[in-house]
Structures are given as C-alpha cells and as structure tokens.
C-alpha cells in the first residue's frame, strides 16, 4: 500500500491520465455491450430495417460508437504505457533524485524493480480492465459468438501483451534518454514502429491454408493472401484471370455474364478456429521481447553515471 501511494505521488498526472483513459474506455465498452441486445432486439421489430440501416453503419451493429471505441483502444494501448513508462526514470534523472536514490537503495536493480515494477502493476491492472471490457464488447458484436481473429490486438491477452511491451520500451527509452519530453517523442515513433511490426508478424509461422467458404463466413479468419481460379477450379495467375474476365465481359456486353463462367478468387490464411494457436505464439514472442527489453533497461540503469 505504501508503495502504491508513493508511486502515485511520484507520477500523479500520468497515473491519473492512464486511469481516466482506461476506465473511461472500459465504461464505454460496458455500456455498449449492455446496450447491444436491446438495439438488436429493436432492429428485429416492425419497421426495424430502416433504423437498423443506420445502426449497422460501418459494419457494426452499434455504428459510430463502436468504431470510436476501437479507435480509442488502438491509441490508448500505446499512449497509456508511453505516458506511464517514459517518466519512471526520466523524472528521477531530470530532477537528480536518482543520484540520491541509487546509493541509498543499495542495489540499483532492486530500486528499478520497485520503481518500475509498481508502475507496471498499476499500468497492467488498468490495461487489463480495458482488455476485458474490449473482449466483452467484441464478443457481443460477434453475432455468431465465434470471435476468431476479430479485433485481434485490441482486446484480451493480445492487447495486454502489446501494452506490456510498450510500457517496458517506454521505461527503457526513458532510462537511455533521461529526459521526459524527448523520451515521449521517441516513444511515439517507437510505438508507431511497434504497431506496424505486430500488425505484420502474424500468423507467426502457423501454416496458411486455402480457406473454405464456411471458414471465410464464420469465425473471422486471418487472411494472408489470395489467388485466382478458373471457372473449372484450375489455379490461374491474376493476369490470366483478368484476361478471361475481359473476354467474357466483352462477349456478353452490354449484359452482365453469369458468375459460373467467370474466374473467382480464393483466400489463404488461418481459420478463426485456430486463433488460440496464433495467440499463444504471439504471446510467447511478445513476453520474450518484453523480458529482453526489460533486461536492456536494467543494464542501462546499472551502468548509467549519476548526473
């Protein structure tokens, strides 16, 4: 309790910001989750289709509010760890309290474990609340109950592992740079890089297969690519598919040709039913990188000269 109070006193504004953002978004998610059954029930009633045409805007039964929530989560999962993590060491270095704290602590690593650990606990609890709320909303949105890869990275464990890595990266950047604002700016650039990296890494070596119609229509698969097939099912290149389409359209013009004589595309990827396989690999990788980056932070603190 004393640790939590001291940590809060040292980082009142950033913890306040993190709590406001995470709990605010979690409350919004809870409200949306609870509102969803009523809205869907209204859509099923008489005269529903006209209203639901608006409600289903952006492909979500809750329209703009859900879209904004997902946008908010996308920003918060990096902004909250950055604002929490960057000041952990920079404040101590900038205000020169590190010079007193390090010799008094006996071991710099123990001091770091307490100083950064308490912020990490607070941060992960807040992010965890948000992750659970986002998972609940995503579950309510998936009408067939099968989430698959829907909102991957913006809910549940995948959100927490990303945020934890960003938090440790922010602490490490702060340890290296030693000043709050530059650390925040560099952290923003690193957050953009991290976001791009984690978006491009899946499916983490899980084998892609041609997705069946059932896999495409249910359980939100993760698609890795597409290919073309001739009307008889033979694989063809994109150029061939285009050439066949052009010829068929010209033959039938001005009428539209039947679908059965046109080439069609097939998707490759990982079916939604294999989501946890991908999630486990991703979590292992991100936790590993988090530990590694944490080690870098420890090494920097250990070797840094008192300023």
């Amino acid at each position: 309790m004393t640790w939590a109070r001291l940590t809060f006193r040292l980082q009142r504004s950033s913890i306040g910001f993190a709590a406001l953002v995470c709990l605010g978004l979690a409350a919004l998610a809870a409200w949306l989750t609870l509102s969803l059954p009523t809205m869907l029930a209204d859509c099923e009633g008489p005269g529903g289709p006209d209203q639901c045409g608006t409600i289903y805007l952006f492909g979500s039964p809750l329209g703009d509010a859900t879209l904004l929530f997902n946008l908010g989560v996308g920003v918060a999962m990096y902004a909250v760890p950055l604002v929490l993590g960057a000041p952990v060491l920079t404040q101590e270095i900038e205000r020169r309290t590190a010079m007193i704290a390090w010799p008094l602590a006996g071991s710099r690593l123990r001091w770091l474990a307490w100083r950064a650990g308490s912020v990490m606990v607070i941060g992960l609890v807040l992010i965890g609340v948000l992750a659970i709320a986002a998972e609940g909303l995503a579950g309510a949105e998936a009408l067939d109950g099968d989430l698959g890869f829907a909102q991957h990275g913006a809910r549940g464990i995948s959100l927490v592992t990303r945020a934890a890595l960003m938090l440790v990266v922010a602490i490490t950047v702060g340890a290296v740079i030693g000043r709050v604002l530059p650390s925040l700016l560099i952290g923003v650039a690193l957050a953009a890089g991290l976001s791009t990296a984690v978006a491009s890494l899946p499916p983490y070596g899980v084998e892609s297969t041609e997705l069946t119609t059932a896999e495409m229509n249910g359980g939100s698969p993760f698609t890795t690519g597409a290919a073309y097939r001739a009307p008889d099912g033979r694989p063809i290149s994109e150029d061939e598919a285009n050439a066949i389409s052009q010829a068929v359209y010209q033959e039938y013009s001005p009428e539209l040709p039947p679908d059965s004589i046109l080439p069609y595309s097939v998707s490759y990827g990982v079916a939604g039913s294999r989501y946890f396989e991908v999630l486990a690999r991703e979590s292992a990788l991100l936790v590993g990188v988090t530990v590694l980056v944490g080690g870098v932070a420890a090494a920097v603190v250990q070797r840094r000269r008192p300023e």
Binding site: D50, V83, Q91, I177, P182, L185, N242, Q246, Q250
Partner: protein, 341 residues
C-alpha cells in the same frame, strides 16, 4: 540584435531535444511529401493512357484494362501515402503546440528557474515575450515548410484542380497550417503557465488544444452555414448529381417542401422519418406517402463555392491567430500574477 540572439540561443539550449526531434520529424515528412508529389507526377507522365482519365479506366463493368492494373495499383499506393501525409500536415500544428508550447513556461516553473528569471527581468511580460519568441518563430517556420510541401503534394494528387479556388484538403495546406500552429503553441504555453509542471501540462494541453480548436471549428461551421448557399443534389428532376466538388460542404440534409434546409438528424428529431427516396432525390416517410406524393423534401446540402477559398483561408487563419493572441494575453496575466514557487 545581440540580445535577441542571446535569447534565441538560450531558448534553443533549453528545448534542444524537442526542437531537434520536431525539426527531424517535419523534415522527414516534408521530404516524403515531395517524394510522393514527384512520384505521382512521374507516374502520370510515364503512363498517360492509364492515368489520364481514371473514371473511364477504372469505373467500368469489367474493371481497368489488364495492362493498366500494375500502374493503377502503384498509383493508388502512392496516392494513399499522399493522403496519409496530408493528414500529418493537419495534425502537426496541434502536435507542435503540445510539444513546443506546453513546456515553455512550465519547465521554468517546474525547475524553479522562473523565480530567478522573474526577479532579474525588469518585466515578467517582457520575459515571457522573449522566452516564447524564438520557439514560436521556429515552430511557425517548420509549419510553413509543411504547409508549402503539403500544397505541392495536393497539387500532384489533384492535377486537374485549381487549388486556389478549391476547398479540397482545407486545413491541410497553405496558411491555416501555420496559423493553427501559432494558436496551438500559445494555448500550450498558457496551459503550461497555469499548471507549472511539464508532464501534466503536456497531457492537459493536448486536451485543451483539441477542445479549443473543436470549439473554433464548430463556431466557424455556424458562421459558414449562415453564408452558405442551398444546393439540391439533383438540380433538375431526374437529372444527374450536380455537385460542385470545389465547394466547401457545410452540412448535408434536406430542403423541405417550404424551402427550409434541415439536416437528416434534425429531420428525424422532428419526426419526419425520411425512409424512402425517389429517383429525383425526394424523400418520403413511407411507401404510401410516395404513392400519394406526400413529399418531405429533397436531398440537399449547404455549401460555399470554391471561389471563396482564399477568403475563408484568411478568415480561418485570423481566427486561429486571434485564439493564440487571446491565449498569449491570458498567459501574460497568469505569469504576472503567479507567485514565485
């Protein structure tokens, strides 16, 4: 002159890291903008047959000609990058306001140097002006670079448009980028002076700047709406859509049977419930109303013609600058009244 240089040097040393990082960010964005502007120009010059008339080449039943597909894919990739970079030009003034403005006075108070500086300076207002002059000019110069490169990029993305009379990418190019930045920096300074601590000031200024410009934007929307002209989607019954694409769209909604303009949400609030549209852009509450000819209104919008772009640019910039001046005045009051910490 020597005094000004000394203050500039001092200001630079106090915010060296932020100034360097922001300058690097702006330089990178400006170079990327120029690169994509030249890339788009070069693509059009190299493949005039595919890129000359995109509507004719792309929006056909059978899709674009096979020979043009690779060119079009590359062109739209570059175009999408251009759109993202133009969005950076929109965001940059607010970001610079937070990063450069908020710590200016907050750091002096937070670090305890304000006490000494204010005691040594004959006037706190004079100190404030000298303290913020260099950073404001530096920020404005960086934003001017972005404004110009963004305008060049926009010209490359829309070569068929006369940009001096077109509202496309309004606020993402030209003078508003700089004026918004000046306003945002001053707002950041004000928040920093009130809060007196760097990190809380940075977090709070992001909120204050966002809210202040949202308020400005809503106020301008009202002003624009009072000057806008009503335009039906289809000028003549059964005619094609006749949008003036150069115009600034102020609001979308319906022209009611008695000639009043109301937005779609206002129509729903009044219980008009426009559900069914006919081929002339007319709205009806139900199938029965359509058959009976009980018209609610026509699709319409309020817009300001593109010819007024220079005037609205000046007006918007003047408002953003006035917001900045107001913030500067309030900052001066805060600094004068603030007790040394």
């Amino acid at each position: 002159m020597t005094g000004a240089l000394t203050w500039a040097r001092l200001s630079f040393r106090q915010q060296r890291w932020e100034l360097i990082l922001v300058a690097l960010g702006v330089a990178g964005t400006a170079v990327a903008m120029l690169y994509f502007a030249f890339t788009l120009d070069g693509m059009r010059a190299a493949s005039p047959d595919c890129l000359r008339d995109l509507e004719a080449n792309v929006f056909t039943d059978s899709g674009p000609p096979a020979a043009c597909q690779a060119v079009l894919t590359a062109y739209y990739d570059a175009y999408n990058w251009g759109t993202n970079l133009a969005n950076v030009a929109w965001l940059a003034p607010f970001g610079i306001g937070v990063i450069l403005g908020a710590p200016l006075v907050a750091r002096e108070i937070d670090g305890g140097t304000a006490q000494l500086a204010w005691s040594l300076s004959p006037s706190r207002v004079g100190w404030l002006v000298r303290r913020i002059a260099f950073v404001s000019l530096f920020g404005a110069a960086l934003l001017a670079v972005l404004a110009v490169t963004s305008a060049l990029l926009t010209a490359a993305m829309f070569p068929e448009l006369k940009l001096s009379e077109d509202f496309i990418y309004f606020g993402r190019r030209d003078l508003p980028v700089v004026a918004r930045g000046a306003g945002a920096i001053m707002l950041g300074v004000l928040v920093g002076a009130v809060i007196g601590r760097v990190l809380p000031a940075v977090l709070a200024s992001a909120l204050v700047i966002g809210l202040a410009f949202l308020g400005l934007s809503l106020g301008e929307d009202r002003w624009n709406a009072s000057e806008a002209t009503l335009q039906r989607f289809q000028e003549t019954p059964g005619g094609s859509m006749s949008f003036d694409m150069t115009a600034l769209a102020v609001a979308y909604g319906m022209e009611t049977a008695d000639g009043e303009f109301i937005t779609y949400s206002e129509a729903n609030e009044r219980g008009m419930n426009p559900h069914i549209a006919d081929e002339n852009g007319g709205w009806y509450a139900s199938e029965e109303d359509l058959q009976a000819g009980r018209l609610l209104g026509y699709d319409a919008r309020l817009s300001i013609p593109g010819q007024r772009y220079p005037e609205l640019v000046l007006r918007h910039s003047a408002l953003a600058a006035a917001l900045g001046m107001l913030a500067l005045g309030l900052t001066a009051i805060v600094v004068v009244r603030r007790r040394p910490v």
